[in-house]
C-alpha cells in the first residue's frame, strides 16, 4: 500500500489522525495533515482505507 495526501485539499479535520495516529498527524500551526508513514504495515491497511474514504476533504489517496 502506498498513501499520498494532498495538503492543498486538506481542511484540517483530523479524522484521519483519530483513526490511524501511527500513519497521520496534523501540523501544530494550521492543522494540515502530515503523513508519518506512506507505506504502513498490513495490519493498518483497513484503518487507512477507512481514513481515505471518510476524510471530509477527499485529501487522502491509497494505491495498492
Amino acid at each position: 500500500m502506498k498513501i499520498t495526501v494532498d495538503q492543498d485539499k486538506c481542511c484540517g479535520a483530523g479524522t484521519c489522525v483519530l483513526l490511524a495516529p501511527d500513519v497521520f498527524d496534523q501540523r501544530d500551526e494550521d492543522g494540515i495533515v502530515v503523513l508519518l508513514d506512506a507505506e504502513p504495515p498490513a495490519e493498518l491497511h483497513p484503518l487507512v482505507r477507512e481514513a481515505a474514504s471518510v476524510c471530509p476533504a477527499a485529501a487522502i489517496s491509497v494505491s495498492s
Binding site: C11, A13, R27, D30, G31, S53, V54, C55
Partner: protein, 392 residues
C-alpha cells in the same frame, strides 16, 4: 442478509451519487460486500465535493476537476454501476424498487437513500448547492456592481467572504445579530462579524429579508439593499419530495431508527437522514460533510448486520478570509477560552451548559480543537441548540 429470491444475487441500490452515497458504497466494499452495487444520481456529474464550491471553486483557485471526490481508477475499483443524470421519482417500499425519471425500474435488496438537500430560495433567485450553480456564480460575480447574499448562516457567510476576496462589493443580510450566531454562539460570531466588516463586507443583519425587487433586496424594515446580483442561502430542505407517496415516515428528512433504517431494507444517510441519536435521546439530522461519510460507515456496517447505533459528536468546519473555524459538538452562549487568545485570533473555546462541556471550537487552531474534543460530554442536554448548519 436475506437474498432476493428472484434476482439470485444481492443488489444494493444507492440513490444519490455524492459524498454520503459514494462513502456508503466504499464502506460496503471495504467490509467485504461482494454483491452488486448501483449508484443512481440526478446530476450528470461523477461524484464531486460540495465544500469547495463556496470556497476554492467559486474563487477560481480550483478548476472543477479538483473537486472530484475520487479519481477514475478509484471509482473503477469500486466495481459499482453509476446511473447518472436520471433522478429517482418514486420508491416502492414493499418491492424495494426505485423508479426513475427516464422510466427505469431498479430493484434491490437494500436501498440507501442519500439524496441530500434542496436549497430554499426566493422566486427566480439563484442559490449555491451544485457545481453548475458554483460555475454560474463564478462567471457572473466579477461583472456585478454589488452582490447581496441573503442568509447569515455558514453558507451565506462563506459566499460573502469568497465574493469579497474576488474583489466584489458585497452585502450580507440576515436576521441574526452576527453571522452564524446560532452555530458559533454570540462571542465567536461577534469576532466573525468584525472579520467580515474589516474585509469590507457590508453587514446588514438583524432584519429579515422579505423579498427581492428589481433594484435590490427588501428588508422587513422597509429598507432596500441595492443589488444587481442576489444569492439566496437561507437554508435547505431534505430532498424527499420523490418519497412523498412511498409510505416512509418523512419529517424534516427521512425518519430512521437508531440504526439509520427507515424501513426493512431501506436506509438513509447524510444530509437527508433524520435518525434517533441514542446518546442525545432525540431525532437528529446533520448537514455537514463529516457526517455524510461517518454515517455512511455506520449504514454500511448495519446493512451487513452489525446492528450498531450511530452516535456521532457533530463536527463541521468553515473557511472565511484567514479564519479556519472548526466546531465539535454544540456551541452556545457560555464559552471559555482554553487555549490561545481571542485577541490574537488563534484560540480554542469550550462551550458549557449546566456544568458540562457540550462543544469545542477552534479558530485557526484545528489540531488543538480536535485534541480538546474528548472533553465533550457524550450526553449533551436534549434541548441543545444544534451547532451544525441547519441541523434539527
Amino acid at each position: 442478509m436475506p437474498r432476493r429470491r428472484d434476482l439470485g444475487v444481492v443488489v444494493t441500490l444507492i440513490v444519490g451519487a455524492s459524498a454520503a452515497g459514494l462513502a456508503t458504497a466504499e464502506a460496503l466494499r471495504r467490509k467485504g460486500y461482494t454483491g452488486r452495487l448501483t449508484i443512481l444520481g440526478a446530476e450528470p456529474h461523477l461524484p464531486y465535493d460540495r465544500p469547495p464550491l463556496s470556497k476554492q471553486v467559486l474563487s477560481g483557485a480550483w478548476e472543477p476537476a479538483k473537486a472530484q471526490l475520487r479519481p477514475a481508477e478509484a471509482l473503477a475499483a469500486l466495481d459499482a454501476e453509476f446511473v447518472l443524470g436520471d433522478p429517482a421519482v418514486h420508491l416502492d417500499v414493499a418491492e424495494r424498487a426505485v423508479h426513475t425519471a427516464s422510466g427505469r425500474v431498479l430493484e434491490a435488496e437494500n436501498v440507501v437513500l442519500a439524496t441530500g438537500l434542496r436549497p430554499r430560495t426566493l422566486p427566480g433567485q439563484r442559490t449555491l448547492r451544485t457545481l453548475d450553480d458554483a460555475l454560474a456564480l463564478r462567471s457572473d460575480l466579477p461583472q456585478c456592481k454589488r452582490a447581496v447574499v441573503v442568509g447569515d448562516g455558514v453558507l451565506g457567510a462563506e459566499i460573502a467572504a469568497t465574493a469579497r476576496q474576488m474583489g466584489v462589493p458585497v452585502t450580507l443580510a440576515g436576521p441574526q445579530q452576527a453571522p452564524m450566531e446560532l452555530q458559533l454562539g454570540p462571542v465567536v460570531a461577534g469576532l466573525l462579524a468584525e472579520l467580515h466588516t474589516s474585509q469590507g463586507v457590508d453587514l446588514r443583519l438583524g432584519a429579515a429579508v422579505t423579498g427581492v425587487e428589481d433594484d435590490g433586496v427588501l428588508l422587513e424594515t422597509g429598507d432596500v439593499l441595492p443589488a444587481d446580483l442576489v444569492v439566496v442561502a437561507f437554508g435547505s430542505a431534505p430532498a424527499t419530495e420523490w418519497l412523498s407517496n412511498s409510505g416512509l415516515v418523512l419529517g424534516n428528512g427521512v425518519v430512521c431508527d437508531s440504526r439509520c433504517r427507515a424501513a426493512d431494507g431501506i436506509w438513509a444517510v447524510g444530509d437527508v437522514a433524520r435518525w434517533h441519536h441514542e446518546t442525545l435521546g432525540r431525532l437528529v439530522r446533520l448537514e455537514n460533510r463529516t457526517n455524510a461519510t461517518e454515517q455512511a460507515v455506520a449504514v454500511a456496517a448495519n446493512i451487513l448486520g452489525a446492528d450498531q447505533p450511530y452516535t456521532p459528536v457533530p463536527y463541521f468546519w468553515t473557511d472565511q478570509f484567514d479564519a479556519k473555524i472548526h466546531v465539535h459538538g454544540f456551541a452556545g452562549p457560555e464559552a471559555s477560552v482554553v487555549e490561545g487568545s481571542l485577541a490574537e485570533r488563534r484560540f480554542v473555546v469550550r462551550y458549557h451548559r449546566g456544568g458540562e462541556v457540550v462543544g469545542v471550537l477552534g479558530w485557526n487552531m484545528p489540531k488543538q480543537a480536535r485534541q480538546h474534543r474528548q472533553a465533550i460530554t457524550p450526553r449533551c442536554p436534549a434541548t441543545a441548540a444544534a451547532s451544525t448548519p441547519g441541523a434539527a
